[in-house]
């Protein structure tokens, strides 16, 4: 298996900005771990570039930050990147992590069950991010957003370190739960709880849970 990774980082609203900034550390970590990283930032998070890199460079690990729905993953300014029934075969033989709403529900499930994706990890309903809008210029110092972004970050980080998809997923899921318990019992604003629980419940991993990148 090749040690390479494609990551999309659109930045056209608050959520994509947060996801993009939080991904910096993962890109650096992946490079330090010997990965070749194809970082599709802002306008480069488009369908043409995604298709071109997947076909020509064949990265094994695909990380999509953005939006979507049951059948689509989108990029910068909501351009559809992966569309069920059109180009979902690009996910064949890939370890896929999609932080985009609802894409695990049909696109992810069908990609794994019928079209040869190795794993598809993501959300089967809308991903919800609670954040402190007074910290929009400093997303990494936003403790509220951290509760929601640490778990997906942990998943990617763990895959980079060589853990299996199943191990990485369980670490991320446990971190969601721990953050929830922290918010429930600590000094955090308890209004966070319902949104954090929602993400915890709808975070899923499909496919071969023993798959890893060596």
């Amino acid at each position: 298996m090749n040690k390479s990774m494609l990551i999309t980082r659109p930045e056209n609203d608050d959520m994509t900005l947060y996801l993009s900034i939080w991904s910096h550390q993962l890109i650096e970590r992946a490079k330090r771990s010997g990965f070749e990283v194809f970082d599709l930032h802002r306008e480069r998070a488009n369908k043409k570039d995604v298709e071109g890199i997947i076909k020509s460079k064949e990265p094994l690990f695909l990380v999509f930050n953005g939006h979507g729905n049951e059948t689509i993953i989108t990029g910068h300014k909501a351009e559809p990147l992966i569309i069920l029934g059109k180009n979902h075969n690009l996910l064949n033989s890939k370890i896929v992590f999609s932080i985009s709403c609802r894409s695990a529900k049909e696109l992810g499930k069908q990609s794994v069950d019928e079209h040869g994706a190795i794993t598809f990890t993501g959300f089967e309903d809308d991903f919800v991010l609670l954040y402190d809008h007074t910290k929009i210029s400093r997303p990494m110092s936003d403790d509220t957003a951290a509760l929601f972004l640490q778990p997906p970050t942990e998943f990617t980080s763990s895959i980079i370190k060589g853990s299996t998809t199943g191990e990485s997923f369980q670490k991320a899921k446990t971190l969601f739960k721990n953050n929830f318990i922290k918010a429930l019992s600590g000094n955090s604003d308890t209004s966070e709880l319902r949104f954090l629980w929602w993400d915890y419940v709808h975070f899923v991993s499909l496919g071969d849970q023993n798959a890893r990148i060596n």
Partner: protein, 69 residues
């Protein structure tokens, strides 16, 4: 009070406790401040219904004791 009206009232009450410096981004729907969320729930539009779904999921888990499983 009918159960759906009760739930809507409960959701509005919960939203009142949200800090004024917090925003909620709900996928492709966009980002919403406290008063935006309250307005959507009152209108019972698609976003309002999503907020109610989130609250119901939370209440269900609380009732079934899932938090500490």
């Amino acid at each position: 009070m009918k159960s759906d009206e009760y739930i809507k009232t409960l959701v509005l009450f919960r939203l009142e406790t949200l800090s004024s410096n917090k925003s909620v981004s709900i996928g492709a729907y966009g980002s919403f401040k406290k008063q935006d969320l309250i307005d959507h729930v009152k209108k019972e539009d698609e976003i309002g219904k999503k907020i109610i779904d989130i609250e119901l999921e939370f209440i269900r888990a609380m009732r079934e004791g899932k938090f500490y499983e």
